[in-house]
Each structure stands twice: as structure tokens, then as C-alpha cells.
């Protein structure tokens, strides 16, 4: 994992509420055995017509969305399945952070594990972001703040441990492995069925 400290980018805004994981990456694309290439299928049913051509009015197909690394979504993004293919697809496409007022648990967890930064903001900040698509914002992980071009600095919640992992580009497996002695001790005292 690459360390991430700040992400500075224009935003792409998708105001729909409850964007579920079946929209982010439809089930029929899950028959893959690797993580690579899923960005092509990101939001496939919204992004392409039945012949596979990009729909010109969908936001990701518009010129102003090209190169944006921050996605602003409506309330409760990521609800639905546990498929990690959802953050993989967003990252493979080029997103580095997702902003909403609510982010579904498993999706948020999966995002953190992959260094896709989930940013939860209050309603007023969210309303500002929705009203200003394409605004140049900064997600500063070192201070856990979202910096808006109007000067406001909005703190967002992120647990210290995943934050440390993303800032330093280290993964969580190593941490669990460092607890080997405790795991072995637990196994020894664990009741058997």
C-alpha cells in the first residue's frame, strides 16, 4: 500500500442516496480472481448503455470529471454486500477518497483496508459539496480534516489505527501477526465444542 497523507483534487458529485455496492460494481463482474481492471466496470449500469457505449450524460463520462480523485456521494453510500470489489473498483478507476454524511459499515471498513479514505461530514458541509461540484478540496489525513476552498476546515472521524496504517502505508495483517503469543494463549484456553 502506498502511504497517503493529503489528497487534493476536484470533486465528482453523485447526489443519489443509498448508492449500493451492486451499483458500484454489479454482481456479474465479480467472477474475477484478481483485483485489477475493475475500474472499467465501476458503475457499469449507469455508465454504459446496453451496447457498452458510454452514456454521455453520466457524470463519470463528462469531461469535467476526468482526473478527479474525490467522490462526493449522497447519504449512505456503500450499503449492501461485503464485496471488496466495490472499493477496488473505485480505486482502480482513480478515486482516493469518498465523502458522504453516512457510509455503510462494511464498505467503510473495506475502504480503510485498501487506503480509500472514507470521509464522513455533517449535513451543512455535505450540502455545500453537493452544491459545488468540481470544487477543489483537500482531504488531509494527518489532521483528519477536509479543507474546502471557502476556507472552512471540517474535522472528520477516523479511528487512529487505520489512519496510522494508511498514513504509513502499512497493512493490518502485520499487527495481528505481532500478537502471536496472545493468539496461541487464547487457543490453549478456548473451550472446544
Amino acid at each position: 500500500m502506498q502511504p497517503i497523507k493529503q489528497i487534493r483534487s476536484r470533486t465528482v458529485v453523485m447526489p443519489a442516496a443509498n448508492i449500493d455496492t451492486d451499483q458500484i460494481i454489479p454482481g456479474r463482474f465479480l467472477t474475477t480472481v484478481t483485483k485489477e481492471g475493475l475500474g472499467r466496470q465501476l458503475f457499469a449500469d449507469w455508465r454504459y448503455d446496453t451496447a457498452g457505449n458510454p452514456k454521455p450524460d453520466f457524470i463519470l463520462n463528462r469531461p469535467e470529471a476526468q482526473g478527479c480523485e474525490i467522490l462526493v456521494a449522497g447519504r449512505n453510500i456503500g450499503c449492501g454486500s461485503s464485496r471488496e470489489h466495490a472499493p477496488w473498483a473505485l480505486q482502480d478507476y482513480g478515486f482516493k477518497a469518498v465523502i458522504s454524511t453516512e457510509i455503510a459499515d462494511i464498505f467503510r471498513n473495506n475502504s480503510l483496508k485498501n487506503g480509500l479514505v472514507p470521509v464522513i461530514v455533517d449535513d451543512a458541509t455535505h450540502a455545500w459539496l453537493l452544491a459545488n461540484p468540481g470544487a477543489e478540496v483537500e482531504v488531509d489525513l494527518e489532521t483528519s480534516t477536509l479543507n474546502l476552498p471557502n476556507g472552512s476546515k471540517v474535522k472528520f472521524p477516523i479511528e487512529p489505527f487505520p489512519r496510522y496504517c494508511i498514513l504509513n502505508g502499512v497493512d493490518e495483517l502485520g499487527f495481528i501477526q505481532s500478537k502471536e503469543a496472545q493468539i496461541a494463549a487464547y487457543e490453549a484456553r478456548r473451550p472446544r465444542a
Partner: protein, 469 residues
């Protein structure tokens, strides 16, 4: 005396290998890791990259269900699997299980089935266990008083390598269900009503405990239907206290404790229910006796109405307008006026024997309406055998429905079993998201009874009109 504890707190405390600190999540031991072909390949790849083994293959169990074919000739007859990439995932799981020493219920195994159906069926799902799977409907197993939740593929890799998981302690939400369900109203209707009430994000960050008279009166199959859809309310897990119903279900199952181990296990399990006076972070109440059969009309499971009701009129709300446009339905219309093209009975929500019996009872003596395609897919090969022994398959076939081998099938349409674009499907599964059952498919979630009745009439139908009580 120590403070009264919730069931969740007891199970959590019993599995803490390293407690949570201000800076780090807890390390939790996992008693049972279920795995399937879709969310495991990248986790096995991680093991290989780092030269790691599966730490506890004895606590790991694999099946294939999501991408597997349901046509008999493809499962048993050697006919090629229609989707190449699905066939490849199946082969990968076979190779991975062999290489890492994991017990696999493979494509032709008589005990194969949907992962959340076979865990209980085999008796490996037990009260007080921590159970995870790379699948959000792992919440199903909470019906036994287990702490069971879905994880992502990175975490699947963590559990493979260490049998542990990093977790922040969730909060608790009590859902108190007063009274009893009326005849013709099912567990599926109750959970849809609960989701309608608290919303699709109502349980976010919480573990739900379902309590109260209606829950206590339920069979294990019904409790599984309830816990299954906890994730549709945003909760990662749902739990129901184990009781005599739970013990009776598990006793004698292939992998349940036997002999004196059984007695010791039951004694442990009896300690699990929440203590009197235990405090939940939140609670909600719902009156079971006031409920009717429920059905969804929109594109998330919280968009639900009683079957005699009308689609609400919330024109001007973007999410509502988008759902109406996708569904091709009209605000304010009676839901029973909605036509039906496809009916799917199956999935980990409603693919158990009791569900098939319920659908067959409604169908018996009727025909599936002209132009309606009805697909019945048992949740496991064991369910299939039992249903056939009772002649349920004959009822389905005589009515004009298709009868298949077990799997997830049309619940998520990964194996090619899909609803055609624009068609209406009454489905006993758990998600009505856009495209869930196929590109452009329009899904209405309901009970097996409502699904069967709707197949007969070719429009959304209250099953109580077809079955005399």
C-alpha cells in the same frame, strides 16, 4: 455481582484475544470461518504472496454457491458451465482448498448449498460462536445466538492467516417485537416491516438483538429469515437468544457436539441470553399483531408497503423519483395492480424447506399464470432432497414452475439465472437494488407465500386470498 450484560457483550468478551485500546481495535478470535468462490481468490493470493498457511483449517469450511450453475446437466451431467469466468472461480476454489487443506463442499457434494444454509444444516453454526464469511448475509447465523457478520476479502485473508480479526466494538440495538404474527403473516413480512420502520441505515454501527414474544414463538428457519436481513437495516449482525427451539434444531446434526460434549455445550449456551436489566444503546418496538404481508416497491428494502397498501407519493424526493422511474411504477398506485413476469423462490433468506413448503401450499391445485416464469431453487442439496421426498418438486412442476439444483441463482444473477431487462420479479431474496437480479430487472421482495400467490395471478397478490385458513 457484575453488571447485567447483553448477549452480544458476552460473546464479544469471550473472544477478545487483545482488548481494544484508544489507538488500536480489538483482536477477536473467530470460531468458524465460512468461505466461498467469489470473495476468496484474492485472499488465497495474499497467502501465497507472503508464504503463509491457513492457521486453522479445522475451523474453516468452504462451499460454492454464488456463481455455481443450477441446471442439473451443468452440475452433474458434465455440460459446460455457461460462464467461463464462473467456471474458473469454481476451479480456483477447488485448487485453493486442496492446497491449503480446507474442507470443501464442492459442486457435486450432496451436502453443498448456500453457505448460510449449510452452516446451520451441518450443525457447525452454534450459539456463542464468532462466525465470519466474506458475505454480508453471514448475519443469518445470529439466529442461533452466534455473533456472525460479513467481512471483506482483505479480512478473509487476515482470518486465514491468523484466525483473528481486528474489530472495533459495535453498539447494540434491541428490536422488541410485541405480540404474535397473525396467520398468513410471516417472518419475512416482519423483517421487511422492521426495515421499513428503522430504515436501510437504521442499524449502522450496531448489532441488533431481536427480542419479544413473536421472536420466541418462531422456528429456527423463521429466525434465520429475520437475522439474514439485519444487513438490509444497515446492521452488520443480528442475534436471537438461544433457547429450547435452538437446541432441538441442533441436536444430532452431523457436526453438532455429541454425547457428554452436547450436555456441556447446552449448559454453556444457556448462559448466553442477555441478562435482565442489560442495557442496549438503542431500542425500538414493533407490534407483530398489527402487521400484514409486506412487499417492496422501490430500489432498496426500506421502500416497503403492506400488500393491501398503495405506493406512497413522495414526488420531488430525488431517491424516490429515481426509484419510481427505474421500477416503472406510479406513486399512489395500489401495489396489487403491479404485474409480475418472473417469480423467484429461493436464496439464503427463504430457500429452506419450510419456505418451499409454504410456497407449495399456496401453489397446490393452481397453475402459474400464462407468461409468468417461476423459478424455485432450493437453498441446499439437502433441502432439495427433503423437498423431493415430500413431493414438493412435483407440486412446483405441476404448476408450471422450474425446479433446479441449489445455489444463490437469481438472488444476484451471477450464474446466468437472471430477470430480463424491464421485467417485474417477485422474489423471496433480500435485495431489490437496481440491476441486482439482472440488468434493468425490477425486483419486488416478499415472502414465499406472496411470491407463489403472485405467480398464480400474474400480478402482486395477497396469499391469504388463495389459501383458506
Amino acid at each position: 455481582m457484575s453488571a447485567p450484560k447483553t448477549m452480544f457483550e458476552k460473546v464479544w468478551a469471550a473472544h477478545e484475544v487483545v482488548p481494544q485500546t484508544a489507538d488500536t481495535p480489538a483482536v477477536i478470535f473467530i470460531d468458524l470461518h465460512l468461505t466461498h468462490e467469489v470473495t476468496s481468490p484474492q485472499a488465497f493470493a495474499l497467502l501465497r504472496e507472503r508464504g503463509l498457511k491457513v492457521r486453522r483449517p479445522d475451523l474453516t469450511l468452504a462451499t460454492m454457491d454464488h456463481a455455481t450453475p443450477t441446471r442439473t446437466e451443468q452440475v452433474f451431467g458434465g455440460a459446460p458451465i455457461s460462464i467461463d469466468s464462473a467456471a474458473k472461480q469454481i476451479r480456483f476454489l477447488e485448487q485453493n482448498c486442496k492446497e491449503f487443506g480446507i474442507d470443501l463442499f464442492g459442486l457435486q457434494d450432496p451436502l453443498r448449498g448456500i453457505v448460510h444454509i449449510i452452516g446451520p444444516e451441518l450443525g457447525v453454526t452454534q450459539p456463542g460462536k464468532t462466525i465470519v464469511c466474506g458475505d454480508s448475509h453471514t448475519s443469518t447465523h445470529g439466529a442461533f445466538g452466534a455473533l456472525a457478520f460479513g467481512i471483506g476479502t482483505t479480512e478473509v485473508g487476515h482470518v486465514f492467516a491468523t484466525q483473528c480479526l481486528l474489530q472495533n466494538k459495535p453498539k447494540t440495538l434491541a428490536v422488541n417485537v410485541k405480540g404474535r404474527l397473525r396467520p398468513g403473516v410471516t417472518a419475512k413480512d416482519l423483517i421487511l416491516a422492521i426495515i421499513g420502520k428503522i430504515g436501510v441505515a437504521g442499524g449502522t454501527g450496531h448489532v441488533i438483538e431481536y427480542r419479544g414474544e413473536a421472536i420466541r414463538a418462531m422456528s429456527m428457519e423463521e429466525r434465520m429469515t429475520i437475522c439474514n436481513m439485519s444487513i438490509e437495516a444497515g446492521a452488520r449482525a443480528g442475534m436471537i437468544a438461544p433457547d429450547e427451539t435452538t437446541f432441538a434444531y441442533l441436536k444430532g446434526r452431523l457436526r453438532a457436539p455429541q454425547g457428554s460434549d452436547w450436555d456441556a455445550a447446552v449448559a454453556r449456551w444457556k448462559q448466553l441470553p442477555s441478562d435482565d436489566g442489560a442495557v442496549f444503546d438503542k431500542s425500538v418496538e414493533i407490534d407483530a399483531a398489527a402487521l400484514e404481508p409486506m412487499i417492496t416497491y422501490g430500489t432498496n428494502p426500506g421502500m416497503v408497503v403492506p400488500i393491501s397498501g398503495r405506493i406512497p407519493d413522495r414526488k420531488g424526493e430525488p431517491a424516490f423519483d429515481a426509484a419510481m422511474q427505474y421500477m416503472g411504477l406510479t406513486p399512489g398506485q395500489a401495489i396489487q395492480d403491479a404485474k409480475v413476469d418472473v417469480v423467484f423462490v429461493g436464496s439464503c433468506t427463504n430457500g429452506r424447506l419450510s419456505d418451499l413448503r409454504a410456497a407449495a401450499r399456496v401453489l397446490e391445485g393452481h397453475k402459474v399464470a400464462a407468461g409468468v416464469h417461476m423459478l424455485v431453487v432450493p437453498g441446499s442439496q439437502e433441502v432439495k432432497r427433503q423437498a423431493e421426498a415430500e413431493g414438493l418438486d412435483q407440486v412446483f412442476k405441476a404448476a408450471g414452475a422450474e425446479w433446479r439444483e441449489s445455489g444463490c441463482s437469481m438472488c444476484l444473477g451471477m450464474n446466468g439465472d437472471t430477470v430480463p431487462k424491464g421485467e417485474y420479479s417477485v422474489s423471496t431474496s433480500n435485495r431489490n437494488f437496481e440491476g441486482r437480479q439482472g440488468v434493468g430487472a425490477r425486483t419486488l421482495l416478499a415472502s414465499p407465500e406472496t411470491a407463489a400467490a403472485s405467480a398464480v395471478r400474474g400480478r402482486v397478490t395477497d396469499p391469504r386470498e388463495l389459501v383458506k385458513a
